[in-house]
Amino acid sequence: MGELVKGRLESSLPGLRGIVADDKDQEHALVTREGPTKGDAEIDQLYAEAEDKRLLKTSLLLDVLNISNVLTDGVSAMVDDSFNKCFTSTRPEPWNWNIYLFPIWVVGVVIRYLVLFPIRVTLLFIGFNALIVVFLLVDLTLMPSKRKMAMQRKLVQWMCSAWVAAWHGVIRYHGPKPTPGKNRIWVSNHTSMIDYVVLCSYSPFAVIMQLHYGWIAFLQKRILSSLGCLWFNRTEVNDRAVVAARMKDHVNKEDAIPLLIFPEGTCVNNEYTVMFKRGAFDIGATVCPVAIKYNKIFVDAFWNSRREAFGKHLFRLMTSWALVCDVYFLEPQSIQPEESPQEFAGRVQAMIAKYANLRIVPWDGYLKYYNLGEKNPGLIEKRRRVLADVLRAYLGKTSAAPSAMALAKEGKAAVELQSDGKGQKGAIKGGVLQGWQKLCAGGTVHPV
């Protein structure tokens, strides 16, 4: 029972202070596993724990009027929250601030913007357009055949290489080169759309992408479709079954080009990694993880789609000295018999996070686009229900549902064991757990 509780406790409870995995926990955050969504009983039990302890030294008056805890939770989230951390770029220290370095920096800027950039753009323009023309020729003139597909893939690979050269990419690939295989799917962490280009210039991949607008859409539809790329709209992706079916279809094809999935679903800043969606892990294929780590030394490759247009992002890349990055092709993983797809996703995420030195954060990347409280009112209701139970107890009534406190009594013993194991950091993942541990032990909780 203790083991089971431990596994569940590792799943962090959103909405509470201390969810930030602070620096002290970094090494353990790297091997933090993503837990499945928590069961009702579990949440009730833990909340009731806390309320139970508080109840011992409080009164109706205080319970109703003392709203300091919820307020502190709220204001703490206003001041800093672990979700937005994943999408901020740290500004690099300016190094050009003295009389000796400044002129050198100015010379550098002049070279980058006035010499390198025009050269790169011209070469890219010529090279890329030439390749597009050749591609369209091949597309229109040759009959569909294996040879045609092979040629198209080679052309796309060259096109991506042209782009990588335009950014002066210094990319190191580690691990065995991917080969197409039946029932295999590749997953990677996501920092920018250029992830795909970086990978594709080495070995061709098909990908499931958000269909964009403008010139990117043209590229996507005409050229990438030849690779077998699959399109979706974020709204459509809610229909998991459709995407899953398409994925299964693809990986079961005979000479399927390797399919690449970004389970995070959104671009993250290459320091953190958000929740891996379980779609790619649910189709019964072998998963080959790929970890991409950008070195921010010359340019920050994170594309913050909320703040930057893609064009501006490309401009920034093309006016920097180089784009440095490491790509790790990791050992293929299969789902274990007792593992759920979500747990499998978490395990693969831990592998990728280790190689790319990322901190794992339990939020869903799509929270960028929707309000969590609105979509999941159940989460708020659970917290409210606990206080409601406590207040009703003052009136001498018990709640309708099996009392959370009764459950708490049972779980208390098991949780007590966890409180003792405070020394073992392995049992404590991230600030939230510390918060709960302290709360369960009756101590005060300070936001981490």
Binding site: P14, G15, L16, R17, S59, L60, L61, L62, V64, L65, N66, I67, S68, N69, V70, L71, T72, D73, G74, V75, S76, A77, M78, V79, D80, D81, F83, N84, T88, R91, E93, P94, W363, L367, K368, N371, L372, G373, N376, L379, I380, E381, R383, R384, R385, L387, A388, D389, L391, R392, Y394, L395, K397, S399, A400, T444, V445, H446, P447, V448
Partner: protein, 176 residues
């Protein structure tokens, strides 16, 4: 201090904000709060709208999120700092109590009336608490807090005299 000039914040602004928040924050914390303000204020309008606050996942699932966010209507930076000020470790207990009272006093008339308490209880305890139970609780609380029909600040303060507000502290992350 190692940070490039926080875009748009002058020393004069910092001094003004420190004065407005009764000096509980030092310069580094103000700079950090400013960065946060800028990050939340998409489009650089100069204030943060309720939707932008509620896009913070941890805040959106807070039971009193709606009340908190409407408590300071579209705060500009100074108001934002004033809102966070009671949670500084250097803030006085009085400041914390004043803030709690302001949040609780929904209609802002300086008294916590039955209606105020009813609204707050709806946010805090949700719909699983029946209307009848709620009224019952409110009556009991008012009785225990001195018997008046509504609470003014001194009554609120003395009701919470035994409350430990030591946990009402928020740490501002500061880059060193």
């Amino acid at each position: 201090m190692g940070q490039a000039a926080s875009g748009g914040l002058t020393q004069g602004d910092v001094d003004e904000v420190i004065a407005a928040s009764k000096g509980v924050f030092n310069q580094a914390e103000i700079e950090s709060l400013y960065k946060r303000f800028r990050a939340l204020d998409r489009g650089h309008k100069g204030y943060i709208s309720p939707e932008e606050f509620l896009s913070i996942p941890e805040l959106s699932i807070n039971p009193v999120a709606q009340r908190l966010v409407r408590c300071c209507e579209c705060p500009n930076f100074t108001t934002f700092v004033k809102m966070v000020a009671p949670f500084s470790p250097r803030a006085s207990r009085e400041d914390k109590l004043v803030f709690m009272f302001t949040v609780y006093d929904v209609d802002g008339d300086g008294f916590i009336s039955r209606e105020d308490m009813s609204m707050m209880l709806k946010q805090l305890a949700g719909s699983s608490l029946s209307e009848e139970d709620r009224q019952d609780i409110i009556s009991r609380v008012l009785a225990q807090a001195g018997g008046a029909e509504r609470l003014d600040f001194p009554a609120f303060k003395s009701a919470l005299s035994s409350a430990d507000l030591g946990n009402m502290v928020v740490e501002i992350p500061v880059d060193l």
